[in-house]
């Protein structure tokens, strides 16, 4: 029982799984489409939730009024639509905007003379999240406007020192996290289906009866699913980089970490499939595993910025480290206290642990008595 034999088993199992999946297209297509579908879903969520659609009614067209609108735009909190008062009311009634900000007549003159100005803001406060965005962003725009136009009047200023060489906006950050969940869903579904199919069809007995090492069989399954998962991974990566325009700082790191994450998620998918033994169980189990892990592992911001309990739970999740290394590849920062090297090693550990655990489950898999 040499290493060369184990390697031949790995290759044979991988090739066998790939061939089987290419013939059995239903689950393969599902494994490819589900992560892409999820990616688009999250993109829609990002696009719809990132900024508040707001109508601006300009009753003064002077340079200060214009500069104030520019300050609103710089706040990155509004999707601004300049319109008339009547049209703005219509849009608000139709539920197409969150708020109306009116720049009153004599705005420029009052600014120049230092006369207090009441800036009318009408908010459809049916969603407190959007309402708070407006409540925070309008005063921020006013401060920004004064800081720009009358620097001497604003005596308290934030002296900001940036830790990162560049800003990362919400979409840029979240897109990378979504990329990870795309790889996760693809990996879990593809590998889970491959492993469960052996049990459904009874062919697991052929594998279990052979003298091949369990770890070699499971590794072969991981390799086979990983190759198939590359298809959905390539599509998800293409959407993020080409459609959303979120480019990695290091292409090679992106590719390397993608391969590592694919290996990890297919290893866990193989474990799920080996345990579930049924493809119809694998799908809800994969979804049910992927989504909570995604949301609690720093998808929207570093997990350690959240509650200490959730952060502690997140640190036990492979997705936490997956998001961290991907954010590093794309944006150059780390979202975890541990270094990129440490995160990479932890991910490698997860891959090995998942394969060994799958092999253990397979070793103790009972067959028909």
């Amino acid at each position: 029982m040499s290493l060369a034999y184990d390697l031949r088993v790995i290759r044979a199992v991988a090739v066998n799984d790939i061939r089987g999946s290419l013939v059995d297209r239903t689950f393969t297509i599902l494994s490819i489409l589900t992560p892409i579908n999820f990616l688009f879903l999250m993109i829609l969520f990002v696009l719809s939730g990132g900024q508040a659609p707001t109508a601006v009614v300009l009753q003064d067209n002077g340079p200060y009024a214009r500069e104030f609108v520019a300050a609103m735009e710089r706040s990155q909190s509004f999707i601004i639509q300049e319109t008339t008062a009547a049209r703005a009311q219509d849009l608000l009634r139709q539920g197409r905007i969150v708020a109306i900000v009116t720049v009153p007549a004599n705005f420029d003159a009052d600014v120049q003379s230092g006369t207090p100005i009441d800036l009318p803001v009408v908010v459809n406060n049916l969603n407190v999240d959007f309402t708070n965005d407006i409540r925070r962003a309008v005063p921020l725009s006013i401060t920004s406007f004064y800081g720009e136009e009358f620097p001497n009047r604003v005596v308290v200023k934030a002296a900001e020192t940036d830790l990162q060489p560049r800003d990362t906006n919400y979409i840029q950050y979240l897109s990378v996290s979504i990329l990870v969940v795309g790889l996760m869903l693809g990996g879990l579904l593809q590998a889970g289906s491959n492993a469960a199919r052996e049990h459904e069809r009874g062919t697991i007995k052929e594998l279990l009866l052979s003298p091949a090492a369990r770890w070699a069989i499971e590794t072969g399954k991981v390799v086979g699913a990983a190759v198939l998962n590359l298809i959905s991974a390539a599509i998800v990566l293409a959407v993020v980089t080409l459609v959303l325009g979120v480019r990695p700082l290091s292409f090679s790191e992106m590719v390397g970490f993608s391969l590592l994450l694919i290996a990890m998620f297919v290893a866990f998918g193989t474990l799920i499939g080996t345990l579930a033994r049924n493809r119809r169980t694998v799908i809800p189990l994969s979804m049910g595993t992927a989504l909570p892990l995604f949301f609690m592992s720093g998808a929207f911001g570093p997990a350690n910025w959240g509650s200490p309990v959730l952060a502690a739970i997140a640190r036990a999740s492979p997705v936490y480290y997956g998001i961290a290394v991907f954010q590093f590849a794309f944006h150059g920062f780390t979202t975890t206290p541990s270094s990129v090297v440490a995160n990479t090693l932890i991910l490698v550990g997860f891959v090995i642990a998942a394969i060994l655990l799958s092999a253990f489950v397979l070793r103790h898999a009972s067959v028909a008595h």
């Binding site: 088993v9 044979a12 089987g20 007995k205 052979s210 067959v367």
Partner: protein, 316 residues
């Protein structure tokens, strides 16, 4: 692969297997010699498949020892598996692959050397008469063809011990005969064959020795002929006019050679332990008391043996 020092292909000693409180195998001991066809007979749930799962290393014994070709199945599991060719009950072929690709995959799993591998696969397909379907997808194969392909797969790595779980379950009569021929051919090649079956005719035709298992216990172990003789040498099926009276039945039962009397209307079944002289004596006695309409003399079958040993039919 085999341990040359051992003459037993399989040696089971005091084997017990429990699933929680349920005892699937209860202190079972038996030995299968190298070169014989050995049958395990028992109704569903009797423990025969569990026994063979342990023999093939798929399941661990709760207690007792099992040695296959001299190897301990719990310690040298991979060596045991390498020496074993298995045709499981659920054929377990990759349906989306061709017959040829199924065998190639099996060859890789069992480390069949690449040199000569294709020739070996071709020979196995030829043996089971599937050469013309080598590139056909298994999903299009009939039950009999699948069973034959599974047999070819089990033989591919030239195992010393072949284990077939219900080898002809669900196959047509023609394929059944063909599979029997392949199994007998393996014996002639010096292989040991272990089979489980519910078909008594199959066990009778193929097996050198039979172990009858019920509720996880060994009920009987012998050659099919000896087992049949335990039940009786001859079974006489008669019909009389008028139907046999209770007095006649009592008198028949009192005859020393008669070991069993069954009646159903005018049909009378007598089991006789003895030679032609005994049979003649019994027939004469019947004709003196009633008019004999039909008579049929035959050997007892294993169904009757099984029923007499376990008190229930094989397919209960």
């Amino acid at each position: 692969m085999t341990n040359a020092e051992s003459s037993a292909a399989v040696e089971i000693q005091s084997l017990t297997k429990r699933f929680g409180n349920f005892i699937a195998i209860d202190n079972l001991s038996l030995r299968v010699d190298v070169g014989e066809i050995f049958g395990l007979l028992g109704p569903n749930g009797s423990g025969k498949t569990t026994t063979l799962n342990i023999v093939s290393g798929l399941s661990k014994p709760s207690s007792g020892t099992v040695r296959v070709l001299g190897y301990d199945v719990t310690r040298d599991t991979r060596k045991v598996r390498g020496a074993l060719g298995v045709v499981p009950q659920e054929t377990a072929l990759y349906e989306e692959l061709s017959a040829w690709d199924n065998l190639v995959f099996h060859a890789e799993l069992y480390d069949v050397p690449r040199s000569g591998r294709d020739a070996r696969i071709a020979a196995m397909l030829d043996l089971v008469q599937l050469s013309d379907r080598r590139n056909g997808r298994v999903s299009a194969f009939s039950g009999g063809m699948r069973r034959r392909l599974a047999l070819a797969r089990a033989l591919l790595h030239d195992p010393a011990l072949l284990y077939l779980d219900e080898p002809t379950l669900g196959v047509d009569v023609q394929s059944r005969r063909a599979i029997w021929d392949y199994i007998l051919d393996q014996k002639h090649r010096g292989k040991t064959v272990l089979i489980t079956t519910n078909y008594l005719e199959e066990a009778s035709v193929l097996c050198d020795r039979l172990a009858i298992i019920d509720h996880g216990r060994l009920v009987a172990l012998d050659t099919p002929a000896t087992l049949k003789r335990r039940y009786g040498d001859v079974v006489l099926d008669l019909s009389t006019d008028p139907p046999p009276t209770p007095a006649l039945l009592q008198q028949l039962a009192a005859i020393a050679w008669v070991t069993g009397v069954q009646v159903n209307g005018s049909a009378l079944r007598l089991t006789i332990a003895g030679d032609d002289h005994a049979v003649g004596h019994v027939v004469n006695f019947v004709t003196q008391n009633a008019e004999l309409r039909t008579i049929n003399q035959r050997e007892p079958n294993l169904d009757e043996v099984f029923l007499s040993l376990t008190g229930r039919a094989l397919r209960d």
